[in-house]
């Protein structure tokens, strides 16, 4: 499959009065055409910063890309200027934000907010763009689109606004859609509808999607692959099956154990991960998760773990995969879902870093 996006050792930091916040610390992943990658992780783990950096939407300054590459269709966008980025934003890569109540301009008609991208990227006339805006609104399932184009955001409900946001994002047929918690602010039934809509549109348009969420329940529903982020790093990445049925990183275990699920109906307590994420101004020595990790080894406090490869598609960054590491049992909630996956290597392979 064709690779549309390759992120290599991306590092992003923010200059603040308290020092430099290292929000993204060496993130690498890639994305194929038509694929959906979910990025999960606690609040503050750097999901939004990572994804916004791909469009260079982080405020610079204080933000700064301190290292790495972002190859979009083989072309590095890190050195691109704002003018060059304008041709990519909205046209090649689009973004849907978390809060549909605040991400639409309150004093501009919905129709015009959709038309803007069309006029800019597809050189459409106003009439043609308006016609297309009506089509897009009906495509995202908004009834009476001819009337709705002329309305303002406050006349739309939350779910409809998010549909309108999707229409805006998809207006110019982007190759990559980044959805930053697109359903977090919506109630559950609307969430399901929006997810259905996104899946449906993806299959029609063959867009790749980066789907950010901290809801693992949503992940199983939409994603092909999952990247688990912690403290600015990807600590585990694999297909949905690998992450759900053969997780290897204690942080992923923690996330899975704290996930409420229907089949989890015996009186098992939801185990919240204790403690709080580290301060990214001074990331701790060793493994950033060590302090909250009851499986932490002595070396976790000394040296950052390397990435191990468990299958062709499955990676985890933990010392537990080292050949000399003690065998540990994942928490019960996780253990009972573990299955033997056929693609797993006999032993984890250390991923050599090519610096």
């Amino acid at each position: 499959m064709e690779k549309i996006l390759e992120v290599k050792d991306l590092e992003v930091s923010f200059q603040t009065y308290g020092g430099s916040v290292k929000a993204v610390r060496g993130v690498s992943f890639d994305l194929h055409k038509g694929e959906t990658l979910a990025i999960v992780g606690e609040s503050g783990s750097g999901k939004s910063v990572t994804s916004q950096t791909i469009m260079k939407l982080i405020p610079m300054p204080p933000g700064q890309i301190t290292g790495g590459k972002i190859l979009f269709n083989g072309d590095d966008i890190v050195p691109k200027t704002d003018k060059e980025m304008e041709k990519i934003r909205g046209k090649e890569i689009s973004m849907i934000f978390q809060d549909p109540m605040t991400s639409l301009n309150p004093t501009m008609k919905i129709g015009y907010q959709i038309m803007e991208g069309l006029i800019k990227h597809q050189n459409m006339s106003k009439q043609a763009a308006k016609q297309r805006a009506v089509e897009l609104l009906s495509l995202v399932g908004i009834p009476m689109p001819e009337k709705r184009v002329n309305q303002y955001p406050h006349e739309f409900s939350g779910g409809m606004r998010q549909r309108a946001m999707i229409a805006i994002a998809l207006a110019a047929n982007p190759k990559l859609l980044i959805a930053d918690e697109p359903t977090t602010a919506l109630d559950v039934t609307i969430q399901a509808q929006i997810l259905e809509l996104m899946k449906d549109l993806q299959s029609k348009m063959d867009t790749s999607i980066i789907f950010i969420t901290h809801d693992l329940g949503v992940v199983a529903n939409v994603a092909d692959r999952v990247a688990v982020m912690y403290a600015g790093q990807i600590v585990e990445m694999g297909t949905v099956d690998e992450i759900f049925y053969d997780p290897r990183h204690p942080y992923t275990w923690g996330l899975l154990a704290s996930m409420p699920s229907v089949d989890n109906d015996d009186n098992q307590d939801l185990a919240a991960i204790p403690g709080t994420p580290p301060d990214l101004t001074n990331p701790p020595k060793g493994d950033a998760f060590a302090a909250r990790n009851k499986y932490a080894l002595a070396i976790d406090f000394e040296e950052e773990p390397p990435m191990y490869q468990i299958s062709e598609t499955h990676f985890a960054k933990t010392w537990l995969l080292h050949p000399d590491a003690p065998q540990v049992e994942p928490p019960d909630a996780v253990k009972k879902r573990i299955r033997q996956l056929s693609s797993t290597f006999k032993t984890p392979v250390l991923v050599k870093e090519d610096k």
């Binding site: 469009m55 939407l57 704002d82 003018k83 980025m85 304008e86 041709k87 990519i88 934003r89 909205g90 046209k91 689009s94 973004m95 934000f97 809060d99 605040t102 991400s103 639409l104 301009n105 309150p106 004093t107 501009m108 907010q113 803007e116 991208g117 800019k120 990227h121 309305q151 303002y152 406050h154 006349e155 946001m165 805006i168 994002a169």
Partner: protein
């Protein structure tokens, strides 16, 4: 919309009635009468004068007469200038004050907005600091000091503008500048903070994510939303320009309504004081109504009550 405006007009009339009543009674409470400053008038003459102006009637009759006349847009004769009515004074002075006030408002709004927008776009850079130094100076220097300052440097030292009077356009520049300086500074600061607030909103990020340029984002998405608090300030701005004009017209020797008003107060010219107060109130109330209508046009979320409901 028409219904809304009708309702507002009704409220305006109510407020005006309160204002007329209040001024009428304050005038009566104030010690002295219009004829006290003149030398000891013989009692017969004073009685005659009082009878001529209706001051011998009981207060409720005077009050009723006055209300009736005001309703007919007749503010009565001036007590001091025998040949002139208050209406004459207003008709004569207001056009001059209107030109001065309008010019000042235009200067304040135009330059205030420009300074504020530049400051916000160049946040924490030298442009921002420069604009804000100008704004702080504008706010802290009172208009009468600004006036003398402008007269001294631009008129007397450099001779670019005439020192006083009100004949050509050049005559209007200095008083309008003096009058505009404080509100301009206010608008600049208001616009700056409002722009900064708007630029940090999510929808600006949405606009950027669409691939729009900084210029388009500023003009189409930011300014309109940033303008809302500035529009709200237009009411107090009009009031400020009105009161500011009293002093400025005196300093520059401009024959406007403001200077008539000041003179009438020292003269205890009751009818002029009351007439001009009522007139000023009408202007203020009208400008507040205009501001509210403008607000409703700029911000679609505000449906003017009684207006057509959007579904």
């Amino acid at each position: 919309m028409a219904k809304y405006i009708g309702k507002r007009l009704l409220y305006m009339i109510l407020s005006l009635w309160l204002i007329v009543t209040a001024t009428f009674f304050f005038m009566r409470i104030a010690p002295g009468n219009p004829f006290t400053s003149e030398k000891q008038l013989p009692p017969e003459i004073e009685a005659n004068l009082n009878a001529h102006y209706g001051l011998d009637k009981p207060w409720y009759a005077q009050y009723g007469d006055y209300l009736l006349k005001v309703a007919k847009w007749d503010f009565g004769p001036s007590f001091k200038y025998k040949s002139q009515s208050v209406n004459d004074l207003i008709n004569e002075g207001f056009p001059v004050s209107f030109i001065l006030g309008l010019e000042a408002i235009l200067i304040a709004v135009a330059f205030g907005l420009i300074l504020g927008i530049i400051a916000a776009l160049k946040h924490n850079r030298w442009q921002d600091y420069t604009a804000m130094i100008i704004a702080v100076a504008g706010i802290s220097v009172p208009s009468f000091i600004m006036a003398t300052f402008l007269q001294y440097f631009l008129a007397i030292k450099l001779g670019v503008f005439p020192v006083a009077r009100f004949e050509t356009f050049m005559h209007t520049v200095l008083p309008a500048l003096a009058l505009a300086s404080t509100p301009m500074a206010f608008i600049a600061r208001l616009t700056r903070s409002s722009m900064l607030e708007v630029m940090s909103n999510d929808y600006i990020k949405t606009a950027k994510a669409k691939g729009l340029s900084q210029g388009v984002i500023t003009v189409k998405h930011a300014i309109r939303n940033a303008l809302l608090p500035v529009v709200t300030y237009m009411g107090p701005l009009t009031a400020g320009i009105l009161t500011g004009s009293f002093v400025i017209e005196k300093i520059f020797g401009i024959p406007g309504l403001g200077s008539h008003f000041v003179t009438s107060i020292t003269n205890r010219d009751y009818t002029v004081i009351m007439g001009v107060t009522v007139f000023y109130s009408i202007i203020l109330l009208a400008s507040i109504l205009l501001v509210d209508i403008a607000y409703g046009i700029i911000d679609p979320r505000i449906k003017l009550a009684g207006g057509k409901k959007g579904e």
